[in-house]
């Protein structure tokens, strides 16, 4: 991909973040920490029995959050050195560590292998875009 296009895609780092926020605010039940401060009066009711829908609502936002951060780091530095690649993966590791802490019951929330899959896939997509 041309560098100009890569920079253009990275400059849209806020898009995955906004999509994730939309899912959290309008599709997720109000049992998250931020709901102590804010709760949307509008909720879109979706049947989450399907695995795909469950993944889109409960796991995808995690990947979008990590993806958005990685894009932002590449957008700030506009280079692809090892240091920047490591820096861009911080939220990937933060997310995986949180999942592992949840698995060990050291932290509130539910461990879900799909969340880890979502983190890794979204980071790989960002790396692929930088090629």
């Amino acid at each position: 991909m041309k560098k100009k296009n890569i920079n253009k895609i990275n400059s849209l780092w806020w898009v995955p973040l906004l999509v994730g926020i939309f899912i959290y605010v309008f599709l997720r039940p109000d049992n998250l920490i931020y709901n102590d401060l804010f709760s949307s009066p509008i909720k879109i009711k979706i049947n989450t029995n399907s695995k795909v829908v469950g993944f889109l609502i409960y796991s995808l936002p995690n990947g979008l959050w990590s993806m958005s951060f990685s894009q932002l780091i590449f957008h700030i530095y506009k280079i692809r050195t090892l240091k920047i690649i490591i820096l861009s993966s911080i939220m990937l590791f933060v997310g995986i560590i949180i999942e592992l802490l949840q698995y060990q019951s050291f932290m509130n929330g539910t461990f879900d292998i799909n969340d880890i899959f979502s983190y890794i896939m979204s980071y790989l997509i960002v790396l692929f875009i930088q090629k």
Partner: protein, 133 residues
């Protein structure tokens, strides 16, 4: 400048990430339907009789508990609570309320019905995110 932006980005995303973690107790309002109803003495008796069986029955569920208020106050984290009499000595059901204003008109000895999320036995039997029915 880039380092500053990086630190700012990390902080921004950490805040968003941590704020999006599940709160252990689900939000409860006056329309929330409890899974089961029980009076405070029965709930306490169930826990003293067999904690494992009681956890299986109540823990992790939104339940409705009726009982008499023994105490009203704030804990060390300034979280408002009432305790419902569980036995004749010190055994209580401790109900925490996110909205302090709902406790203003309550008195010790008053009978109330509370809906809350049971997190099990920890000195007292704990109910989180409670509302007065």
């Amino acid at each position: 400048m880039k380092n500053f932006l990086t630190i700012l980005s990390i902080l921004f995303f950490l805040i968003i990430g941590l704020a999006s973690i599940e709160d252990e107790a689900p939000a409860i309002n006056s329309e929330t339907q409890p899974v089961l109803s029980v009076n405070s003495k029965t709930l306490y008796k169930d826990y003293t009789n067999n904690e494992i069986a009681a956890d299986d029955k109540y823990k992790g569920k939104v339940i409705q508990v009726s009982g008499t208020i023994r105490d009203i106050g704030n804990d060390i984290m300034d979280d408002a609570y009432i305790t419902l009499i569980g036995d004749d000595f010190f055994g209580d059901i401790q109900c925490f309320f996110p909205d302090k204003s709902s406790l203003i008109n309550l008195n010790k000895g008053q009978k109330v019905t509370v809906v809350g999320y049971c997190t099990g036995l920890f000195v007292n039997i704990i109910l989180q995110n409670c509302v007065i029915k």
